[in-house]
Symmetry: C2
Subunit: 337 residues, 2 copies
């Protein structure tokens, strides 16, 4: 038997009794069904207001079989690249009366499957961002997660919508830009080794011609980029491609401290185009990633999956192309002595 809620709200039954109609009629009025006598409808509405009645969403969800909520599972909420996606998702979903439940795995990739499943059980669907989850965990998880869409990652034959960034295209643009400026030796600040998108970047770099790429272990956060400055300078490159903008900004800070001229002595590029990138000094050249649009597209896919009788799922991965944004942190390669 259930417990009475502490603040006892009016229920649909209270309204029905008070308005001298059945609960069914109250329900019809509240849901705007037209088949109700206008006079009665008006009376019901008045009593509802008088009793300060608000439909219990949980009970509705149980009866309807849907919660009008979708989950968004990410490794770290404080990472700026997930914000735009969340914003896009949240606003698009809101337009159709859906809410977003956010789950942050605090970077514990091993707990992500459990977290995702738990989130899923409270929602109608989930959007999963899990760049470091192992392929096998992911394969095991996905069937239980549906309806779901996978963000920032592609898994073959998963049978669900997948939206990813065309990392390779972004890297190619950056390399082309740098090599056009005369850079021949370029450092790459690696992201987390387990990260899929890092792998994608490295593959694209390996395929680049006309430039030599020096890989340097790094990470995904400010301090990682900051700490890598020494190695970058020692490597004797004339340009650096950072895993992302956050790393690039960390590096930029350290280079300033060391008195290195950017872009005079060293060109620096990032990836993502987070809002800060335009306001650093020098402003950061980077590859803009349409994260907010990804969020919107994710909702669009989910929305289709949630619509009864929706057409067959097209699970061909959608790759969104980054766009090169040239700012002040890149310049001509210094002449070699």
């Amino acid at each position: 038997m259930g417990r009475r809620p502490s603040r006892d709200r009016a229920t649909i039954g209270d309204v029905a009794t008070e308005a001298k109609v059945s609960r069914a009629t109250v329900s019809r009025v509240m849901n705007g069904l037209a088949t109700v006598d206008p006079a009665i409808a008006e009376r019901v509405r008045a009593t509802a207001v008088a009793l300060d009645y608000r439909p219990n969403q949980v009970a509705r969800s149980l009866a309807l079989g849907r919660t009008q909520t979708i989950g968004y599972v990410v490794p770290d909420l404080t990472n700026p690249s997930f914000h735009s996606g969340l914003r896009g998702l949240s606003r698009a979903a809101a337009e159709q009366g859906y809410r977003v439940l956010v789950a942050d795995s605090a970077e514990h990739a091993d707990e992500e499957p459990g977290l995702a499943l738990d989130t899923r059980r409270r929602c109608d669907a989930v959007v999963l961002v899990a760049p470091r989850m192992s392929e096998s965990d992911l394969a095991r998880l996905l069937p239980d997660l549906q309806p779901a869409v996978l963000l920032n990652r592609v898994v073959a034959g998963a049978g669900l919508p997948q939206l990813d960034v065309d990392w390779a295209s972004g890297i190619r643009d950056l390399v082309r830009h740098l090599s056009g400026l005369g850079h021949r030796r370029i450092a790459y600040l690696q992201g987390p080794v387990a990260s899929r998108s890092n792998t994608a970047r490295e593959l694209a770099l390996a395929a680049a011609t006309g430039v030599e790429v020096i890989k340097i272990r790094c990470g995904a956060m400010f301090p990682d980029g900051h700490a890598a400055a020494g190695q970058v300078l020692d490597s004797g490159v004339s340009a650096v491609i950072a895993f992302n903008d956050v790393v690039a900004l960390g590096l930029l800070g350290a280079l300033h401290e060391l008195g290195t001229d950017v872009p005079g002595a060293l060109s620096v590029v990032g990836f993502d185009d987070i809002p800060f990138a335009a306001y650093t000094w020098p402003p950061l050249t980077t590859a803009w990633v349409p994260q907010e649009e990804m969020g919107r597209l994710a909702w669009q896919r989910l929305s289709a999956l949630l619509t009864p009788g929706h057409p067959v799922v097209d699970d061909a991965p959608v790759l969104l192309r980054p766009r090169l944004v040239v700012r002040g942190s890149t310049g001509r390669a210094p002449l070699r002595v």
Copy 2:
């Protein structure tokens, strides 16, 4: 009558039938009640696994009268100052099995009451961040929102926990720091006029002695700070206090473009200490705000409110003190000619 979910999951009834026990027993096993015969418990668990049974959270919520979810209502998810709070809240709540439902009002202050109420109906409680909601809307809203805690704002006699930043103290620290460096005329880049925390800052500035404060209309985002650079330079001040770090960084970007020496010709301070602040050039002097701790404290208050028979609510506002963080963007005032 409810609709069957599309992917028909096993219910507690299926498990009961299959394991040849009652649903009550399955429930007891699933909830770890000790009063079950070990052999039976084991059988139930095995059947649950075999049927891939997962308790329906919505049904649980309805029966228990709680959702194990709390809402977090903010004006704009992309504003970095809300991220740490969300992170603190989300992680603290997760430790006790609670999830966070995020609602973003997209800066529409007039829609916030409705949004907050709707969010509340899906949750057991909400954390409200509404810096620009009118006093009257807020007063009307709060009684319907409880249990709730108010963040970044104080309302007299609201009867709910309130956590706010001691803006005045932070401003005083910044002013003292600047005046100690010889600055006598200081510009203040105003935040949104309707913002409570902006008002608090302005009051503290008005009370400051020994310095003259020039107010300049600005805003809360990068472009606002960027656009204010001209007015700042024209005003002939030697130091600027920006509404927040984001504005300060926007300003810093514009000052670089204009070739203004920071801090040689102009000192700049922000407010918040967002993660980026340490990595700009020069690194930003600012007032650190314990946002993540606020999130944790908010959960602590909420958790108390949600505990049956909790002690009386102490609704005296808690003011968290910022801490001055001196970095490179401030220096001695240039000698006046």
